[in-house]
Symmetry: C2
Subunit: 218 residues, 2 copies
């Protein structure tokens, strides 16, 4: 009985769906970003600010992953982006088939940039390809500056790290230099942005980069 291969089979099936989705999205001229972080690092707030920052420049869509509640999708919709909510009902990460089903419920016409907000979890989502072009991990200054070393896989598979909540640096023990060093030791190609979604610091640089990413000029 091939018990020990089950996990691999599931991942292989996931990757096939993810590759098909990637092809569909790319053909439509849509770039896709898988956003991952701990619970409460600021994924939804960064999305709200990003949608505001790109308004009038880029049509943005969002697939919102949550275990329960539709709160985040309501926030994103209020910010003005086409949104669909996935509730995983207990599952700790999104899988490609969930995103595929969500894509059927979202209007892709005119969309240039699609964010997939994963479940708040620094471990499990790292293993699942969702058809994205790039993966970003959001770290927050209130989580401690040891997270890259303690959750290395997430930082190894991401192309971008956004350090959020830099407005709180005066009130916490957090070394930006240490977190940069740890993250780059794991992944030397990681691109790093430092922002405060509360004060807006750094968001212009982030939005400019996203715009260039969509237009293929990064």
């Amino acid at each position: 009985m091939p018990k020990i291969t089950i996990a691999q089979n599931i991942l292989a099936a996931n990757d096939t769906i993810a590759q098909d989705m990637h092809q569909v999205l790319t053909t439509r001229g849509i770039r896709t970003i898988n956003m991952m972080s701990s619970p409460g690092a600021g994924k939804t707030t960064l999305l709200e600010r990003t949608i505001e920052g790109l308004r009038g420049q880029l049509e943005v869509g969002v697939i919102e992953g949550d275990i329960e509640t539709g709160n985040d999708a309501e926030r994103i919709e209020a910010a003005g982006a086409e949104t669909v909510q996935i509730n995983t009902r207990g599952a700790c990460h999104l899988e490609a088939h969930m995103v595929r089903d969500a894509l059927k419920e979202i209007n892709l016409t005119g969309m240039r940039l699609l964010f997939i907000e994963n479940i708040g979890n620094l471990v499990c989502p790292a293993a699942w390809d969702l058809g994205e072009d790039i993966r970003i991990v959001i770290a927050s200054t209130t989580e401690g500056d040891d997270k890259p070393a303690k959750y290395p896989q997430m930082f190894a598979i991401s192309q971008i790290m956004v350090v959020n909540k830099i407005d709180l640096l005066p009130y916490v023990d957090y070394s930006l230099e240490k977190v940069r060093r740890q993250a780059l030791a794991i992944n030397p190609n990681l691109r790093i942005f430092e922002v405060s979604c509360r004060t807006g610091e750094g968001l212009d640089v982030w939005c400019e980069w996203l715009s260039a990413f969509v237009h293929g000029t990064t």
Copy 2:
């Protein structure tokens, strides 16, 4: 082929090991607490402060769960508690057999209170019994006050919620009243402590409660 029952079999096997451990620990007069939270909510720092607060009153031991690194175990050892480190090498939660193996490496003589610090993850650890007497979830004021509603299982299976980082309340959008209300709606029996591991606020009440818990007077 009974493929779909595998997860249940694993959980059943886990629970058997957990029950055996619980019996062994109880017979030795040791009370055991499974600590869970998001990454960076402050599990290790709360342990450091708790060990300081109980020094001379209660012998404390700690089993430290991390995906990688031995940093937390070093911090706990420096704080003066008997410690053993588990590295899960990618796994998103502790399981009972890991704790059983760790118990062989720790000196239980004189110990009255054993903390098991789980992997930083608000989802997966909730499903795994580790032989504990009680489970505590640590929420932090920097994570947002919607966490009980978004990760209900963790709050449903815990007996205690510790809200940490209350010193940062002036700088974040966080309603203690809202988080209390959400958490109690999910679990009306949840006991709630509010602390700052940075300033020490609330830690005396927390340590008094722990002492009473060990002495069976709660």
